[in-house]
């Protein structure tokens, strides 16, 4: 059977399972209308192919041919001891944990005290959340193929609402485990995060597969950052090589707000990060950073968009990549500056190192500028580590492997510098050391 045929089959399976999904949902609600519309949109668009400019360098053919189970049956028990290592466990955090797309109250630590850190499924159905769902649910998400597919099946995920002037005292972890006990599994988490005026929140997100079966996660996260609010978001991607992830994140910012997203891609089969920022006020700051270190046949694609709509805003992008073996990396960054968005300061940086002859990097840093009084620049490099620096260190008795690792760590450090949670920084540092195969703490 050809890949196309398999893809069609998966599409049909998804379309027909919608009926079962619909059963048991309130079909007279607004949310139902949104879902039905999204399903029609997906039916029309189908899965993305390499013919689309946005998917030129990433083919999903190899993962879409699996026969995924869409609604995993029973809740599978997971022992805390087995999964503890996937948490940032050395600090107190709120936790919203899902296993195979279902909420795990055992592993979670939620709250309704002065804020809501809970489940989207209850927010979508309970009347007390109605106004917020009406205002924010599916408001900033794009109508593209995979986002539409997620919207059609949107049901479960994290719902985080931080009211005015609240500073959340500890970080929130959102973790999706997949057990895929029986066979290949597809899950579609949907997160909604609303940070009201003057609030502050830090979120850590992780997708983790606990099986050798193929996993496909098609996640959508919508984040609203109101006036003066600040949101720090950390995505840790260090999954098994049979787990693929399409992560769609849409962020809408109001005036004088700050939002940063750090993406650490160290593992997985095919990882595609669609990160979109929409600036809807003045004096907004958006920060997009990422470190990618992959090997084997892994593929990581960072597809970013920053849409500057209002004047006097800033955006900073900094993506570093290290590619070994037969891995492929893609960076497609797009900055749009509308003609009203005068005095924009947009900066985009993408640096890559290839450490194997078989590795590939495709970069497409893109600027579309319609305003004249702006400072926009981008830089993109592909190169090697500084041989002289390496020699200098070897001369002073640092073995080549460690010297190499130190250089790579220094290369990625511009991204790590802005991580505000020390424990996360430490975790990432350890992961980098692990990836580079050295046992040093980098605390030099």
């Amino acid at each position: 059977m050809t890949d196309e045929k398999r893809m069609e089959e998966l599409k049909d399976k998804l379309l027909s399972s919608y009926l079962a999904f619909e059963n048991g949902k309130d079909i007279n609600s607004d949310v139902h209308d949104i879902r039905s519309k999204a399903l029609q949109n997906f039916e029309k668009l189908g899965f993305p192919t390499k013919k689309l400019e946005a998917w030129k360098y990433t083919s999903l053919n190899s993962i879409l041919k699996e026969d995924y189970s869409i609604f995993p049956k029973a809740e599978t028990a997971v022992e805390l001891a087995d999964v503890k290592k996937y948490f940032i466990h050395d600090i107190d955090t709120y936790k919203v944990v899902f296993i195979d797309g279902k909420y795990s109250s055992f592993l979670s630590n939620t709250t309704h005290d002065n804020m809501d850190i809970c489940l989207l499924s209850s927010a979508l159905t309970k009347p007390k959340y109605k106004a917020i769902i009406e205002n924010f649910f599916n408001k900033t998400a794009k109508q593209d193929n995979l986002t539409s597919l997620n919207t059609a099946f949107a049901n479960e995920g994290a719902y985080i609402f931080i009211p005015q002037n609240v500073e959340v005292e500890k970080p929130i972890q959102i973790i999706n485990f997949t057990t895929g006990a029986e066979n290949a599994t597809m899950i579609q988490p949907r997160n909604l995060i609303v940070a009201e005026r003057n609030s502050h929140v830090q979120i850590i997100e992780r997708h983790q597969s606990l099986t050798d079966n193929a996993i496909l996660t098609n996640a959508v996260t919508e984040i609203f950052v109101d006036t003066h609010a600040s949101v720090d978001y950390y995505k840790i991607q260090n999954d098994n090589t049979n787990a693929s992830l399409v992560d769609n994140t849409f962020i809408e910012q109001q005036k004088e707000s700050t939002c940063s997203v750090h993406t650490f891609s160290f593992g997985g089969n095919i990882t595609r990060n669609n990160l979109n920022f929409f600036q809807k006020g003045e004096h907004i700051n958006s920060i997009l950073k990422g470190v990618t270190i992959i090997e084997g046949r892994q593929h990581v694609d960072h597809h970013t968009l920053v849409h500057h709509i209002e004047p006097n805003c800033e955006s900073h992008q900094d993506y570093k990549g290290i590619f070994g073996d037969r891995s492929t990396g893609v960076f497609n960054g797009k900055v749009i500056v509308e003609k009203e968005a005068q005095k924009t300061n947009a900066y985009q940086q993408n640096n890559n190192v290839l450490i194997s002859d078989k590795a590939t990097i495709n970069a497409k840093p893109q600027l579309e500028i319609f305003a004249d009084d702006v400072k926009c620049s981008h830089g993109c490099t592909i190169g090697q580590l500084d041989q002289q620096a390496l020699f200098y260190m070897q001369q002073r008795g640092i073995p080549k492997k460690e010297a190499n690792a130190l250089l790579m760590y220094a290369f990625a450090n511009t991204v790590l510098e802005s991580v505000k949670i020390p424990e996360v920084k430490q975790r990432i540092t350890n992961l980098i050391a692990e990836k580079l195969g050295v046992n040093i703490g980098f605390e030099l």
């Binding site: 078989k358 590939t360 990097i361 600027l367 009084d373 993109c380 592909i382």
Partner: protein
């Protein structure tokens, strides 16, 4: 060449409308509008071409019929109706030329208006000019001087007759007939163009240049240029063009192929000034050009272009760096004003070891225009130690225009070093203030700043062109900043 002073500039700037927009009435022989196999055959027959050439054209035509017009470029325009174009027009009185006296006096007057005085050029600029007027060459100078060195420089239609083996070997070798929609169309119906062959080890003693003009209303111009630099040779080739003002959209789909054999060097410079349409965006030339060169071992190809004209430009002069140690360069200034749209850039395909490429692109957008840089740098898996440096700078004037960059970087070799940087800025108020303070008025200050912005590219142009290009930049941006 007399010195160009600021007073001259002031005079120039008063001329708001397109200054070269005039129309010469020369009785021309024209084919009926439309395109089919018979027309392709007729063009071939008209040119008295050998059988293989006719077949080659027909094959291209058949391929073209299967193709669709590309839509990926960042431009919007009313698509030309390819059946509403006359594919051949030639000045009727085709003179056999030995001296300038034999040229149609009306045509000579046209050249004078354009500022191409043949006598002047012969005497002062030391430039041999192969003038293409409505697809058929009518004047060739310095032929004898070139012949002494063994350099062949003639209309491609003549080269097909006289050097069929060379043409047959190289035509379509860099830009195959199947390459793209417009290249296929050009291959099927090209009327004429220039052919140039530099023999082994010869350094061409003068700049070779061709002036293109679109003349007859409703005639698409399909030029075909083939430049072959044999081992160890060098040639600098200039191409420049102006077109008459006209209401109707005119299509220009040229193909340029450069072949630099081992150790050869080709420098190809263009000043493009097709009619851009009037200040309301009406009319103007569509310029869909395929330009590509191939470098063998140690060879070098350098593209320099100054783009100020055309309503729509779609042009990517490229280098295939096939041989080891070969070098590709691209220097470009693209100016768009009013409703102009330009989607231009380059492709550098690194295949050989130790290959190097440099891309310097300067985009200047004013009025309601859209200016895009689209480039590809590709490092093949066998291209050890390949090196690329790209720089794309955009200058915006006013907030109704747009500047876009679409760089594609594809690397499959770990020893590659690729750098790309792009900036977008406007003319600083402090810069203008500084000039005003010193008695330089705003208009002139802008000209000064734009020239400074473009200097890196202007410097790469041969002397004769650099002066002309500088004037063109100033005229193109006239009245764009209030």
């Amino acid at each position: 060449m007399s010195k160009y002073t600021e007073d001259d500039l002031r005079e120039e700037l008063k001329t708001k409308e397109y200054e070269y927009g005039f129309y010469t009435d020369i009785e021309s022989e024209k084919f009926p509008k439309g395109l089919n196999e018979d027309i392709v055959r007729a063009i071939s027959k008209k040119k008295n071409e050998p059988e293989w050439m006719t077949e080659w054209r027909l094959e291209a035509f058949r391929v073209w019929q299967q193709m669709e017009e590309p839509e990926w470029a960042n431009v919007t325009y009313a698509k030309p109706n390819f059946q509403d174009i006359s594919y051949y027009s030639a000045p009727k009185k085709k003179p056999k030329l030995n001296s300038l006296d034999e040229v149609d006096p009306e045509m000579l007057a046209t050249f004078e208006k354009l500022g191409i005085s043949l006598e002047e050029q012969k005497r002062l600029a030391n430039v041999a000019v192969d003038i293409v007027m409505d697809s058929v060459s009518v004047a060739t100078t310095f032929k004898e001087t070139l012949a002494e060195k063994g350099i062949i420089f003639m209309p491609i239609s003549e080269a097909i007759q006289e050097y069929p083996e060379l043409v047959k070997k190289y035509i379509g070798s860099v830009v195959p007939t199947t390459d793209n929609f417009y290249a296929a169309l050009n291959s099927a119906v090209f009327s004429d163009g220039s052919f140039c062959y530099i023999p082994k080890g010869v350094r061409c003693p003068m700049e070779l240049s061709t002036y293109f003009r679109i003349n007859e209303g409703g005639t698409g111009q399909f030029e075909r240029t083939l430049v072959i630099a044999d081992e160890g040779s060098y040639v600098s080739y200039l191409e420049g063009c102006t077109a008459p003002q006209r209401d109707e959209n005119q299509l220009h789909a040229a193909v340029v192929e450069l072949i630099a054999l081992d150790d050869a060097e080709i420098k190809y410079s263009t000043v493009q000034n097709w009619f851009p349409g009037d200040s309301k965006g009406k009319g103007g030339v569509f310029n869909f050009v395929t330009k590509r060169g191939i470098c063998e071992t140690n060879a070098k190809i350098s593209w320099t272009q100054v783009e100020t004209g055309s309503a729509v430009t779609w042009k990517y002069p490229s280098c295939i760096l096939k041989g080891n140690n070969s070098v590709g360069e691209f220097y470009s200034i693209a100016v768009t004003n009013n409703f102009q749209q330009a989607d231009t850039g380059t492709k550098m395909i690194h295949l050989g070891k130790n290959t190097k490429s440099t891309i310097i692109s300067k985009g200047i957008s004013a009025g309601k225009s859209q200016n895009s840089y689209r480039g590809l740098v590709q490092i093949g898996s066998r291209a050890e130690n390949a090196r690329n440096f790209s720089q794309c700078d955009s200058l915006l004037m006013g907030n109704e225009c747009g500047a876009h960059t679409f760089p594609y970087i594809e690397t499959k070799n770990k020893s590659a070093q690729v750098e790309h940087e792009a900036t977008t800025s406007k003319i600083g108020e402090d810069q203008l203030f500084y000039c005003n303070q010193r008695g330089i008025d705003t208009e002139k200050a802008i000209a000064l700043i734009v020239n400074g912005f473009s200097k890196e590219v202007l410097n790469k142009l041969p002397m004769e062109f650099a002066v002309e290009a500088q004037k063109l930049l100033e005229i193109s941006l006239e009245g764009s900043v209030g």
